[in-house]
């Protein structure tokens, strides 16, 4: 019950497992036990969005989930966005449109934008603003991110 438990899950298409206390946060499990440090730990209480991952296909904050809750789950982190050595259209667009400066929020921003575009492939500017309001960025002023998500939406629709 409070002793370590085994957690088995699929991360970025790869079967993984680890052992941890039930109180271990999912983001710490991803970073410390699985070595996937792309997902960032920011506020640790579900405000900043830096730790956002796809949990069974939907964006979720991994700092306010327990690793044990991910047993049997399918997770996508920022490391899984690139396919066959090619950046994801969102990553390309963030680079092209200055969607990042320091990069701290970027993993959460990309994953949140990914869920937004999966559920709403042609978002209005207002809908993008609302979607990315889930993640705090202190560098860009959001404008570059907005342009990047608009551009990625166009690319992904045409793909």
């Amino acid at each position: 019950m409070r002793d370590p438990v085994t957690v088995r899950l699929r991360v970025n298409g790869v079967e993984c497992q680890g052992r941890c206390e039930p109180r271990k946060l999912l983001v710490d499990f991803l970073r410390e036990d699985l070595g996937l440090t792309g997902t960032h730990v920011g506020c640790e209480h579900g405000i900043c969005g830096a730790c956002t991952i796809l949990f069974n296909g939907e964006a979720a904050r991994s700092c306010i989930m327990l690793a044990v809750q991910a047993d049997g789950a399918e997770i996508l982190t920022v490391e899984g966005l690139m396919q066959n050595g090619k950046l994801h259209p969102l990553q390309e667009a963030f680079r092209e449109h200055h969607g990042l400066q320091c990069g701290f929020c970027t993993p959460g921003m990309l994953i949140t934008a990914l869920d937004l575009l999966q559920t709403n492939p042609s978002p209005t500017e207002g809908e993008i603003r609302e979607g990315i309001s889930a993640v705090l960025c202190r560098c860009t002023g959001y404008h570059g991110i907005l342009k990047a998500v608009e551009a990625a939406a166009r690319t992904m629709r045409e793909a």
Partner: protein, 288 residues
Amino acid sequence: MKPAKFDYHAPTSLDDAVALLQRYGGDAKILAGGQSLMPLLNFRLSRPAALVDLNRIASLAYIREENGQVRLGAMTRQRTIEFSPVVARRLPLLSEATKWVGHLPIRTRGTIGGSIAHADPSAEYPAVLTALEGEVVARGPKGERVVKAKDLFLTYLTTSLESDEVISEIRLPVMPVGAGFALEEFARRHGDFAIVAIAAMVVRDAARCKQARLATAGAGPVPVRLRAAEEILERDGVTDAAIDAAARRAAELVSPDSDIHASADYRRHLTMVLTRRALKRALKVAHA
């Protein structure tokens, strides 16, 4: 910022969950979507002996129409409600309110049962439950009971549920066809908790208002049903004067507290302004 140690249980049936809650006699916390509880655990503001995680109870997530009600399993995610055609058709006020709940990655995890059981006075779902005269089904060691919205919320973050009771279902009466509705909210940033929000539903018959429903979020320790303001519209019809009078009355009906986000006076003022806006918009979309 890591949770203190706890026993972790993930029962697969509601009966097992209730038995676990009974066993810990009030020292266990129920984990639903975790979007409010997990931050409290991370800060160690909450240090329960055990967590009873409801996420493995698949039978607690559903939306169905029955007996003139929409019934939602307590573990139905806010994101599911946001996209539900049944909710859009039968409870458009709930659909609209859902867009105000947190952010996208909060709503994928957050549940309707968790939001209501947490009883944050600034949350949208308790206001909708109150406005629409909904009820919850609570399962405890002695079986099920139905608790009406007006009997559920006691004060800040406190409901009338016992520590070994779990909300299993939320029931909301289907909104009348053609009813107008609006949720007006003021928050510093989109996705933050409301400083004040007003949930409104109106049923029109030409210039008459056959039925008005108004409830607050953020204007006191619990959602406030603004019955005396509703009565003004039901009596005087849908004129601008009646809307103004109802809005002024609404501000008199609430007793907000001051906190770091806003003063009591400001919240009372917002109650008036948002009631007026909510009524105007609701009446505009209502079928005459």
